[in-house]
Symmetry: C2
Subunit: 126 residues, 2 copies
DNA sequence: ATATGTACCATGCATCATACTGGTACATAT
DNA sequence: ATATGTACCAGTATGATGCATGGTACATAT
C-alpha cells in the first residue's frame, strides 16, 4: 500500500489519508481482514504527526472502512469495499447545497450565510 | 431621526445602522414615503465611510425597508413597517440549524461539515 | 455647479477556526 | 520491554473572512 502525502496540497492531510486508504480498498490493494500499519508506524513513515493519522483512522472506523481491535492493531473492515463507496461527504455536500441555494434565492448574502453558519457551528448545546 | 454609532461596539457599524433605521420605522419615527438622508450626508454626520452607509442602505433595500430612487434620494418603503419585523438572518439561522442537526445525527464531523460548506460556498455556478 | 445612487479599483486590520504539531499518560497484551 | 489504540493537556501557523477604509468615476437630474 503506497500512501503519498502532499503537504502543499490544500486538502487536509487527514483527508488525503482517508481518501487513499478508501481507494486502496476499492482497488483491492487491501482486503477485508488485512492488517493496517499501526498509527505510530504510519505516522513515522509519512513523517506526519500520529494524531493526524489517528484522526483519519477514527473517521474511517466511523465509516466502517476499518476496524480497530485495541492492542492488536487495526484491520480492514469486513464490509470495507461496500462502505468505501459510500461517501458521507457527498451527502453532506448535497444537503448543504440545497439549503444554501434556497437562502441565496431569498437574497441572503454569502457573508450573511457564512456568519450564520459559524454561529450555528459554535453553539452546540450538547 | 437620531442615529448613534458606537465604534467600540462589537456589532458591525453597518448592522448598527440597519437596526436603528428598522427600529425608527417600527417606532413610527419615520414613515412610509419619508425621505432618508443621502448616503454621503449620513456618512458625514456619523463620521463613517460612505461605503459603510451604502452597504446598510443596500441591504435595507433588499429587505424592502427602504427604496432608492436614483438621483432623487432614498425613501422609506411603503411596506417598511411590516418588513422591518422580518429578520432574514433569523431565517438563515433556522435553515442552517436544521440541516446541520441532521448531518450531525448522521455522524458527520464538524470538520467535515465545515469543509463541505466551504466547498459549496466557493463553487457558485451562476 | 451640485447632488443623487452606484460601480469599480484597492488596502489594512482584526478576528476566528482549522489543521497540525508536541508531550505525556493509561490499560491492554505480547 | 515493546507495542497497540486512546485520551488529555497544550501551542502554533496558516488561511479565510469580514469590516471598514480610501479614491475615482459614471449617468442621472436639479
Amino acid at each position: 500500500m503506497e500512501i503519498i502525502i502532499d503537504i502543499d496540497d490544500p486538502v487536509p492531510l487527514f483527508s488525503q489519508l482517508m481518501e487513499q486508504i478508501k481507494q486502496a480498498v476499492l482497488d483491492g490493494k487491501i482486503k477485508a481482514g488485512d492488517a493496517l500499519p499501526s498509527i505510530r508506524q504510519l505516522a513515522n513513515d509519512l513523517d506526519i504527526n500520529s494524531k493526524t493519522v489517528a484522526k483519519s483512522y477514527r473517521l474511517l472506523e466511523r465509516d466502517n472502512v476499518i476496524q480497530t481491535k485495541g492492542y492488536r492493531g487495526t484491520f480492514v473492515h469486513p464490509d470495507a469495499k461496500v462502505n468505501s463507496m459510500i461517501d458521507l461527504n457527498t451527502t453532506i455536500f448535497e444537503h448543504l447545497s440545497k439549503v444554501i441555494e434556497v437562502l441565496r434565492d431569498r437574497g441572503a448574502t454569502d457573508s450573511e450565510i457564512r456568519i450564520a453558519f459559524g454561529t450555528v457551528m459554535n453553539n452546540r448545546k450538547d
